[in-house]
Amino acid sequence: MGVLYRAHVLVCGGAGCVSSGCRAVQEALKSELAKQGLDKEIKVVETGCMGSCDLGPVMVVYPEGVFYRKVRPEDARDIVQEHLLKGRPVERLLYHTSQREIIQQMEDIDFFAKQRKVVLRNCGIIDPEDITEYIARDGYEALARVLTEMTPEEVIDVVKKSGLRGRGGAGFPTGLKWEFCAKATGRPKYVVCNADEGDPGAFMDRSVLEGDPHSVIEAMAIAGRAIGSNQGFVYVRAEYPLAIQRLKHAIAQAYDYGLLGKDIFGTGFDFDLEIRVGAGAFVCGEETALLASIEGKRGMPRPRPPFPANEGLWGKPTLINNVETYANIPPIILNGWEWFAGIGTEKSKGTKVFALAGKIANTGLVEVPMGTTLREIVYDIGGGILGGKKFKAAQTGGPSGGCIPAEHLDTPMEYDTLVKLGAMMGSGGLIVMDEGTCMVDIAKFFLQFTQDESCGKCIPCREGTRAMLDILTRITEGRGREGDIELLEHLGTTIKDTALCGLGQTAPNPVLSTIRYFRHEYEAHIREKRCPAGVCAALVHYEILQDKCKRCGLCRRSCPVDAIEETTEAELVAAGVGAAGADMQAAGASQGAISQPASSPKRKPLFINQERCIKCGVCMRECRFQAINRC
């Protein structure tokens, strides 16, 4: 083996941190270490995602476990000279709570402390490009055990008893799927990994592939043994270049180590694994569309039955699971089904990775036991709502899911409760919305997404989501009609009942669930032509509060369309406008004079020409006296 290092600096190399510049930080660190002659003592490792994406680039210095956030290349000198040479952590780079409390250790930060990592066990800890690091953390031991000590039936039995359910969305019992596939009669059989993660905001599958690709490779080989398959395919979307690169590298290493290919562990079991890159169609996450895409056809779903377990790739029995599902398999084999079944709730076992996004303080990737309440995730781990605003709702399951309003904050996050609430687990995207979010607008956003991504095959999805989108658009533009809500409900339930695949059948969920919990917002848009959250541009207008306005003219100068105008006194009176109206009149309309605010006696009052205003909000942002109101 090589040298023993006295310290390791783990730099997060997840796609988030890569975009925020972690590669430059690494380079700076390495060159600083070399300059100080420490490059033989201290090792810099690029790991997978650590989860706290909004703090990136992040890093942890071991053995102490000191966590640095928002590190820039120019910080490298201090980290090396202060911390690594003199043992004094660089305070300005440490984590601060919202109470400005400084926390040095990673494990003391709530965001990390309250998680339980099974799927992400190695992400952020090992070098994903070094198979020995995976092996050092018991990697491929599960495969060895499966191949040398267990029968395929025993493997399936363990997966069944663990209670693991599919992490791709619908939550189908994984062990049952394996069993169906094992019993299917066609030959050859295939093992497929669905890594076509397409829900906006969800990136747990990417993180696993980027941070711990061997866990998926190992699990797929285990699955191959269990169902009797010697060929696997990982279907990854082309938008995940880093995941593809690391997976490719990992597969090559696994072949080098004899952990893929012929006669694995000398047991006579062969398993080959190939990558298929998708062109980024959301619908290719649907299993039959994904299989069509692997076959080189247009990614369009087909009716089931037959199910892929019996007739999948090229008409042969095919096991298809998602990345996160596979990542659970090796620890289940190693620790036993009892261990896994001990985590989570009665019907949802194990952990779930959520991608926190939206108006939440700590965005990123978190893994918690099933059954953790939404409140714990949002407040304890997520650090609450940004800017101290009020929580309004959380969207789970992305465009296929629904929203969970504040009154259900104590809902345990598990498959069946979420469905009862009109939402779904989906792949684990969790988008947090505050009081400034318009629920009609949100529903429209998701429907636009599904409409764009509909494969166009079945009418309910292709035309139905478009019809719903048309209705939502007119509601948000102030052209809503009485009966529109009922029409949306009718369309939504019909689409769910008739669409060909999961994409269409779940597409109306965001609309139906926002109507369920926020019907009054729809009514306000339709009946009062008002957007309560002040989001829908066509329904808001800006006005100048004359009693607060100092007539400084800043708003006028910043308006991009010259919509802010001086008004003649006559016009002012005729319009009968103005918060300052009371004293205007008191000052004597008969004389045609207006009392001028003391600050600018010679300037005329300013008004917003509503015809011209494009509702960009620049005036409101620019005003220093809070004299512009949006309503």
């Binding site: 039955p305 166009g456 095959k457 079945c458 009418i459 309910p460 019809a467 019909t494 009942d497 008739t498």
Partner: protein
């Protein structure tokens, strides 16, 4: 096949294991409406019009793909089902142009019928209608994508049954459309003009390129002698356009109607089918004798020719150099007939009525100008002729019979059966046999080459020679057949290929029906007409003999070659060209 019992609408029904709920219901007399489903192209489960309620199923299911199972309980007419179907069709028509009055399929549109059946009377989801430019790039078919309901039947027909794949789905969501590669016009890609897509389109989105206008203009032009020829398959199906049962022969009425429309002479393509046998038989025998390229592949079907030129150019030397009967007739009309009548070729307007859309393309091939001008000026499909007859107010079903005109109206029974798969082979065998053996055939009917199996083969003893033949119909079958064949090394001597499944009787220009029993009935018309003919062998056609005596000399003569034979060439595939172009652009960019 094992049977299962299921309940549909409260009735216990027995159905074959492996069949679908739709099939089981229809067998029991319960008609579930469909749109994307077509018996000839199979189910896709796309449109969701055929949804039914299945007990314990989470959602409604598409009956066209849902397999029957023991104890299944199905409701086909519940409120939930009716509401769903109606909403689905309402959604579909929300973006449909609904210019039904100006549509080719007005009155015969499946969507129109469906909307009517489901009681749709208001446009609940009125939306912006698409405004795409129609695709008029092909001489055979015309595509109006605005009317397309994306049922996918044409795609399945073209790709899976015909093995061509000229069109496919493109884009997603509301922008989804059916298009040739790179949104080219269908006339610019590998389309072989067979027109089978026009027969499966439930609406007016793919129709034949209409030439009735040009024909009316010619008929109205006193300076033109307007001559028409009619292919055999037309008489076997035209009656269906006028409410007559499939399998009704309308030969005499057809000739009467053409005379009434004002054609100066009505000729029979069966005459030139006999002529084709003379030339092709001669070619076959000389290849056989001189060790020429075998198997000889027939050349009557222009869709097949274009397919071979595009996808299997390695077999071009195997294709008979004989023109198709349409083009032989075209050349003879503007040479032999013109000379006899003292007419200049350019003053003759030569029309053909064909069961085929590819004939429109064939007539415009640059090789087809033996007379110095385009030999065949306009090609009408059977459907277009029906339109003209209707427009003229002719009561077709009650017409008296009439006879073809001389001298190009006489034909043998061998010429008649050209219209059905196996017919060209049978006609050829009748003549070749007698020429080779110099003995009259005892039994004229080579039943071993008849039928509707996709690929059939037979071995016929002709004296000391055993001739091995094969018959292939449908281009998908042709592709598979050729894939198993090497050009210079084949067990076959003679292979008949027809582009359309079933042969010309089921051609792309025929009345819209693809059912097997309709094919059989149309075939029976031709076989019956053959039996009724006094002359049943091409080489015994007196008029054909006279043509040789007076004009051509003998089969394979120099004049015959000039007028009746042609050449073929490899066609670049659009994809290849596009890829090359992009490579050039890429290289230029780099």
């Amino acid at each position: 096949m094992a049977k299962v019992k299921l309940t549909i609408d409260g009735r216990e029904i027995e159905a074959e294991q492996g069949s679908t709920v739709l099939e089981a219901a229809r067998q029991a007399g319960i008609d579930i409406p469909t749109l994307c489903y077509h018996p000839a192209v199979g189910p896709s489960g796309a449109c969701r019009v055929c949804v039914v309620e299945v007990e314990r199923a989470k959602t409604l299911v598409a009956s066209c793909v849902y397999p029957v199972a023991e104890g299944l309980v199905v409701k086909t007419n519940s409120a939930r089902v009716r509401n769903a179907r109606k909403t689905v069709v309402e959604l579909l028509i929300s973006t449909h142009p609904q210019d039904c009055l100006c549509c080719d399929r007005n009155g015969r549109c499946e969507l129109q019928a469906l909307a009517n059946r489901l009681g749709i009377r208001t446009e609940r989801f009125r939306a912006q209608k698409p405004q795409r430019e129609p695709d008029a790039s092909s001489v055979s078919i015309y595509r109006d994508q605005n009317k397309c309901v994306l049922c996918g039947r044409c795609v399945t027909m073209c790709r899976d049954i015909q093995g061509v794949g000229a069109i496919s789905f493109a884009y997603r969501g509301q922008r989804t459309l059916i298009s040739p590669s790179f949104e080219h016009g269908v006339g610019e890609v590998e389309c072989v003009n067979c027109g089978q897509c026009t027969k499966v389109c439930p609406v007016g989105a793919i129709v034949e390129k209409d030439e009735t206008g040009a024909v009316w203009d010619a008929l109205d032009n006193p300076g033109l002698t307007v001559v028409v020829q009619v292919a055999p398959a037309v008489r076997a199906a035209l009656g269906e356009e006028f409410g007559m049962a499939p399998g009704t022969s309308v030969t005499g009425k057809l000739v009467r109607a053409l005379h009434m429309l004002g054609f100066d002479a009505v000729f029979d393509t069966q005459f030139s089918a006999d002529l084709t046998i003379m030339e092709e038989g001669h070619e076959f025998l000389s290849r056989l004798k001189s060790g020429g390229k075998l198997p000889l592949l027939t050349s009557c079907s222009p869709g097949w020719i274009k397919y071979c030129e595009t996808f299997h150019p390695e077999f071009l030397d195997n294709i008979s150099t004989c023109k198709s009967p349409q083009q032989m007739m075209g050349a003879v009309i503007k040479s032999y007939y013109a000379k006899a009548k003292g007419l200049k070729p350019e003053n003759i307007f030569s029309v053909s009525v064909m069961p085929c859309t590819a004939k429109k393309y064939e007539a415009r091939r640059p090789e087809m100008r033996a007379s110095g001008v385009q030999d065949v000026d306009a090609v009408l499909t059977t459907r277009e002729l029906a339109k003209m007859i209707r427009m003229a107010g002719i009561d077709f079903a009650n017409l008296e019979d009439d006879d073809f005109d001389s001298p190009l109206g006489e034909s043998s029974g061998a010429g008649t059966i050209f219209g059905v798969t196996g017919g060209v082979m049978e006609a050829a065998l009748r003549s070749v046999y007698e020429i080779v053996t110099k003995k009259p055939l005892a039994d004229l009917e080579f039943t071993q080459v008849r039928g509707f199996e996709g690929v059939r083969e037979a071995e016929i003893a002709m004296g000391s020679t055993r001739v091995k033949v094969a018959i292939v119909h449908g281009l998908g079958n042709a592709g598979r057949f050729l894939a198993g064949l090497r050009p210079g090394d084949s067990p076959y001597h003679f292979v008949e290929v027809m582009a359309c499944p079933g042969g010309c009787i089921m051609g792309g220009g025929q009345p819209l029906s693809l059912e097997q029993d309709v094919a059989e009935k149309r075939a029976s018309v031709l076989y019956q007409e053959d039996r009724n003919k006094a002359v049943r062998k091409s080489h015994e056609n007196i008029a054909v003999r006279r043509l040789y005596d007076e004009f051509l000399g003998k089969p394979g003569s120099e004049l015959a070659h000039k007028l009746l034979h042609t050449t073929y060439g490899e066609r670049a595939r659009a994809r290849v060209e596009e890829a090359r172009r992009q490579a050039v652009i890429g290289a230029a960019g780099a």
